[in-house]
């Protein structure tokens, strides 16, 4: 096989990994959006905080014991993300929601929350000597197998892909099969009525934020396992996360699919464009965004429509 074919294969593998990361990150965003209708721009910061919390685990656990450290990293990350997500809802979003704020107000509030979180972390990192301006989970990924010395599948691939697929399935089942999930959807659909029917909407909301925060920071952990993370990392990725969520029509399977599509479009098309047309890889993000816009123009409600997964359409 020629180098180009290996290159395409490598780009595809890489697209899988990056796409899974986008998808994984977008799942939590989708969860929040589905239940509370908030397009949460502060979501990016939960990811960053998760990565930082994962790294903080290495202060407690000796890095030599990598299995324990991995577990501790995940625990630290998810609990930190869950707490921060819940706190941002309790302090900001819930009071606004009670007042009946419109979507754009909630969105702007989330930008405010994001600014506070991001710049606090940035300031803290910069003013404590700079060692934490960039962090990396001490256990890093390993190559599992490699094709032609070029394309390889690593433990990061396995982690990102499995966890994304797993979480997407779990969330989908949660929403369609369980009492809690249906209560979440009911709360999203008609909060007043949900309350009347005896659903504890406040509790449902809290569970939602805890889960979404934990998901976000799990993604943050995965990210720091794969790449170095700085206080702006989540923010930089946010547009991709939103793209995956919107393109997926805010359905969990849709997010999975569109995350992968974005990742693969960016990498495979980017590689081919670079190799054959000489278009620099600095244009790769453009490819992903053009994919997003094109998909939305053709299918304005996203790749998978929300109801089509839940039920048969009305005849």
């Amino acid at each position: 096989m020629s180098a180009v074919l290996y290159g395409v294969l490598a780009a595809f593998f890489n697209g899988l990994l990056v796409g899974s990361l986008y998808g994984l990150m977008a799942l939590g965003l989708t969860l929040i959006y589905r239940v509370t209708k908030i397009p949460n721009f502060a979501f990016a910061e939960y990811i960053t905080y998760g990565a930082y919390a994962a790294v903080a685990a290495s202060f407690v656990i000796d890095p030599v014991n990598s299995a324990a450290l991995l577990v501790a990293g995940i625990l630290f990350a998810t609990s930190a993300g869950a707490v921060i997500a819940l706190a941002s809802d309790e302090l900001v979003f819930k009071p606004l929601w009670r007042r009946g704020s419109e979507v754009l107000q909630l969105l702007v509030a989330s930008i405010g929350v994001g600014l506070v979180l991001r710049y606090s972390l940035l300031g803290a990192a910069a003013l404590t000597g700079g060692k934490y301006l960039e962090v990396r989970f001490p256990v890093t990924y390993q190559t599992v197998f490699s094709v032609g010395g070029l394309a390889s599948i690593t433990t990061a691939h396995l982690l990102a892909i499995t966890s994304m697929v797993l979480f997407a399935i779990v969330l989908h089942l949660l929403f369609t099969r369980t009492r809690l999930g249906k209560a979440m959807r009911a709360t999203a659909s008609n909060p007043t009525l949900a309350q009347i029917t005896g659903i504890n909407v406040i509790l449902v909301r809290r569970i939602t934020w805890l889960m979404a925060g934990a998901l976000a920071s799990f993604a943050g952990f995965t990210y720091s396992y794969y790449n170095p993370v700085n206080p702006e990392s989540g923010w930089i990725t946010l547009l991709w996360i939103f793209s995956a969520a919107i393109m997926g029509g805010f359905t969990f399977y849709g997010v999975l699919l569109s995350g992968l599509l974005l990742g693969i479009a960016e990498n495979v098309v980017g590689f081919l464009a670079n190799y054959y047309l000489g278009i620099g890889s600095e244009y790769n993000p453009v490819i992903a965004l053009v994919t997003l816009v094109t998909v939305l123009m053709v299918r304005p409600e996203g790749l998978i429509r929300m109801e089509s997964l839940v039920v048969a359409r009305r005849v």
């Binding site: 397009p39 721009f41 900001v92 009071p95 606004l96 007042r99 704020s101 979507v103 754009l104 107000q105 969105l107 702007v108 509030a109 930008i111 405010g112 929350v113 994001g114 600014l115 506070v116 991001r118 710049y119 606090s120 940035l122 300031g123 910069a126 003013l127 547009l239 939103f242 793209s243 919107i246 620099g280 600095e282 244009y283 993000p285 453009v286 965004l289 053009v290 997003l292 816009v293 939305l296 123009m297 304005p300 409600e301 996203g302």
Partner: protein
């Protein structure tokens, strides 16, 4: 001290005017028309690129021929070269061109910036007719990023990541105090834009826009064409955004795509939300708050005001600035949910007075 304060005040007024124009245009689209134009910065950018490239191109063309120079540029516009910067500096200092010529070029480029912005708005109305709400917002945001990434990476139209710099200012050529002149012109422009936008939003067209926002079907019943009204709103709003972009370039003398990240859109949206959506005075007030926070929450501005921060606080201020902006947004939304000035039929004395004045003509 007085000089320091006035210098910072001048910067504040310029940024206020630019943000106010952007806010008024976003407010017209979103507040009155319900179109969440998250690509605002795209149109500001289009205006800036157009203004910068056109002004630089014409000025350089005339300048080089008068100086008897020839510029050879490969793979990039001539105005990106070092020689071009030399020519520009000669124009400012050496009287190579008359103030009238520079002013003419500037005005022409401003008109072009508005026109290109408006055309961009027409293009953006294609998704705006098809998509709603969050989907539209993200699509426009993505379109903005697509354009920004391309402009940032390609030498055309504004010299890629280096940016186009040193564009001669008509005020410097005229021998005026540059920043003060820009402030005066910006405020005058803002006044004109404000009158235009309030008249537009109070006109039958403005009511049609609101009708489309509140109930599209009802609006259709009354004979309005929602798609057409959205297109008009986006075209006018984006033209105004282009104007704001041109003003920013006149002020700084340079244009670089990196300045047009989505953050700027968010600042504008925050301004409108803070001031009060669907209220033009609110948009002004919001812009005043946002520009104020951006300009005054800095070590040098505070020093100019006689506030001397301890060194440690000074070092933390660049970070605290945005934390404070974030907190302000949150607190205003929590305690003044409709913004400082809520939506209401516009019948303020100032506007009534202006209307009478204008009506008499």
């Amino acid at each position: 001290m007085v000089e320091a304060v006035s210098g910072i005040l001048v910067q504040y007024l310029i940024l206020f005017a630019a943000y106010a124009i952007m806010s008024l245009s976003f407010n017209m689209e979103y507040g009155f028309g319900g179109i969440p134009n998250f690509g605002k910065v795209l149109f500001v950018g289009l205006g800036a690129y157009t203004f910068g490239a056109l002004a630089a191109w014409i000025t350089l063309g005339i300048g080089t021929s008068r100086l008897g120079l020839e510029i050879v540029a490969e793979d990039e516009p001539a105005y990106c070269t070092g020689t071009a910067k030399y020519v520009f500096s000669q124009i400012v200092e050496g009287g190579v061109m008359t103030p009238l010529e520079i002013t003419g070029i500037t005005l022409l480029a401003v008109v072009a910036a508005i026109a290109v912005g408006a055309v961009g708005g027409v293009v953006a109305s294609y998704p705006a007719v098809r998509l709603r709400g969050d989907f539209l917002a993200i699509t426009l945001l993505a379109m903005g990023e697509i354009v920004r990434l391309i402009v940032y990476n390609s030498p055309w139209p504004v010299c890629a990541f280096d940016g186009l710099s040193g564009i001669p200012s008509p005020f410097s050529v005229m021998g005026l105090e540059h920043n003060i002149s820009v402030a005066v012109v910006s405020l005058a422009t803002l006044a004109a834009v404000y009158i235009f936008v309030s008249r537009a939003t109070n006109s039958p067209w403005g009511r049609a826009l609101k009708a489309v926002r509140d109930n599209e079907i009802a609006a259709m019943v009354y004979g309005y064409n929602p798609a057409r009204i959205r297109l008009q709103a986006l075209a006018v709003g984006s033209g105004l955004a282009g104007l704001a972009g041109a003003l920013l370039v006149i002020y700084s003398g340079n244009v670089n795509a990196i300045s047009f990240k989505p953050d700027k859109t968010f600042e504008v949206i925050a301004a409108v939300m803070l001031g009060g959506s669907a209220n033009n005075l609110g948009a002004l007030l919001g812009a005043a708050i946002v520009a104020g926070l951006l300009v005054f929450l800095n070590v040098s501005s505070l020093r100019a005001l006689g506030i001397d921060l301890p060194a440690s606080v000074g070092q933390a201020l660049p970070y605290m600035k945005f934390t404070i902006i974030g907190l302000t947004i949150i607190l205003v939304l929590l305690y003044r949910p409709q913004g400082v000035l809520p939506e209401k039929p516009l019948k303020t004395p100032l506007i009534e007075w202006l209307k009478r004045k204008l009506g008499r003509k």
